[in-house]
Amino acid sequence: MSMKKPVDRIAKATPPAFANRVRALSDRAIAWLFVGPSIVLLLAVNIFPLIWTINLSFTNFKANRLRDAEYIGLRNYERILTDVDTWQSMQATAHFLFWTIFFQVLIGFALAYLINKKFKGNDLWTTIIVLPMMLSPAVVGNFWTFLYQPQIGLFNYVIEFFSGVDASSFSMIGSVTLAPWAIVIVDTWMWTPFVMLICLAGLRSIPDSIYEAAECDRASKWRQFWTLTVPMVLPFLMLAVLFRGIENFKMFDLVVQLTGGGPGNTTLLTSIDLKREAFEKWRTGYASAYAVILFVTVFGLASIYVKALNKVKER
């Protein structure tokens, strides 16, 4: 009694009609057969809504009203681009993006560099450091509002302890000058571990032999850091910046919980502004135009960035 191979069993189990039909298909047709469902899904879920949004952006459509939409040309775009408040929220977003990425990369890389050195309790510290990013942003936003309370907040007391400034004399989320930094601090606290993990992966991917060769060449630690470590971790760092940039461009929950966009419009990020236009004011046409502008901005910036990333990788 001969043992049949698994592949023979499968071949035999395949219904002959189907097998014949498949046999009759070209390689290209089979490729389409596999890719087709994904393309249909992509068209339905991404491309169609995008085209529909672009279409709506030229109308005064309101999703909560029964009346028909009218085409109003570029009026929505003109309104958005000439609105001072929109530019303020763009500025608030740019401030938030720049400083969160700056601090997260700086601190994340430093932590990764430290964690990469073998020491006792290394794993425990890694676990402790990554804890914040495991929490829900809504929860983080909520408890930081308590930490920032001038009368009972721990944050204010820590500042008072180190600087001598009266804890109840300043409000991190109530002050126009401090609120933009308040959201930067919380996001940095929460997401620095993510950057650290990516940097750690980069650091651990550098073979020891390279450092050994550098030692043989009598390169100093400082030189090793700048000419070996940094260039080899750079693609990872850039990837971390891309991820954090995309995430923070659409930042919503954390900031809504913390400041609600205030005081005034100081921390009103574009994502919050867009949500209010679309689902609170129900100005669907206007919000669609806003979304298109943001899409073009992010798409443009991301394309430039990805090109730069590829160049770095090629080096």
């Binding site: 609600g260 205030g262 005081p263």
Partner: protein, 442 residues
Amino acid sequence: MKTSKYLKVTALTAVLAVGAPTAASAEALTLCWAAWDPANALVELSKDFEQQSGIEMGFEFVPWPNFADRMLNELNSGGKLCDLLIGDSQWIGGAAENGNYVKLNDFFEAEGITMDDFIPATVTGYAEWPKNTPNYWALPAYADVVGWTYRKDWFSRPELQTEFKGKYGYDLGEPESLAQLKDIAEFFQGRDIDGKTVYGAAIYTERGSEGITMGVTNALYNYGFEYQNPDKPYEIEGFVNSAGAVEGLEFYKELYDVGAPPGSSNWYMSEDIDAYKSGQVALQMNFAFIWPGVNADPNVGGDRTGYFANPPGPKGHFAQLGGQGISVVANTDNMDGALAYIKWFAQPEIQARWTEMGGASAMRAVVEAPGFSDAQPYNQAFLNSMAIVKDFWAEPAYASLLLPMQDRVHKYVIAGQGTAKEALDGLVADWTEVFEDEGLIK
């Protein structure tokens, strides 16, 4: 064969099991409202309806900050979650024009329910659309208004009374004007009471939903702000940004600057309650629904707290209307049951029990009954407040009108950006754009 038979029986059982609650749901109603104390009282009260009608009541209560978002999405998407909705007064225009609520005129007439039995301001505020016309889309369900609570025990301290009189030249007591209210808030700001630093007044400053608007209007109305030209609807230039309105907005900012606790830049109902109950503030602005809870509070309740209506300003005496009406959602599958609930709820004895259990009836037979004003320490203040109410826009585009007001006012009062005149001029521009979009003005 046997297996197939068993499968069929199992499938049939499953279908019946799934189908059973669906069949029962025809005799069930879901009432949607905000998640707050009065909602719990309504659950208790509704047990009587369940007994009488045999209809099972379900409830969907949403916390206030998400209430409008959640419920308006539900209505706009044609959802079937709610058979009955106790919706905010400002939603009535949109819900009526978009066909989300059932018009109740014929039903009221058939059942002998008359709007004359309810406080007129609540009928206009909670039930009518268009305003001041006899077109009813709700039954007034919960009468509410912004008013004030104060620490009577602190106010009555002789040393504070002497100091206050020396500083301001009149007795420390319930303020007779908004200017006096500011003096009192300023007097208590940062004061040491029983070894604890306390502050003046917890006021509405919340930015995300409707908070600061519900607060600032109590100052604006009394300084001369008008929503529109009374003789020419939607003409707002010179009314929204009149000299009096500018003064009113400046007053609210001063009140925030000199009398609000540090860090209170985004406070609404619950934050104000917390600040008051924890003994942080001498005065609290809040809707009257919180008064029973304050009265029962072990720390600040009883004789330690007094209540008063929003004080007058130089150009009038008004208070911001709160509260809601109960409506039948047009999409309901149980129209008869929903209408039966409204009929049951409109009975005077049910309305009286509603107030006893922690609700706030708008029925005149209840609030004008002999002994009502003395029944609770806050009842007189409630009646005084209900007599002076004024409400925000209830247009279908109310959210588009509300959000710019939130932004403009918050920017000036809390962030200190620009002037009061610039804020209100900006508001006029925003509202004009909304009216143009809505086709209300050319």
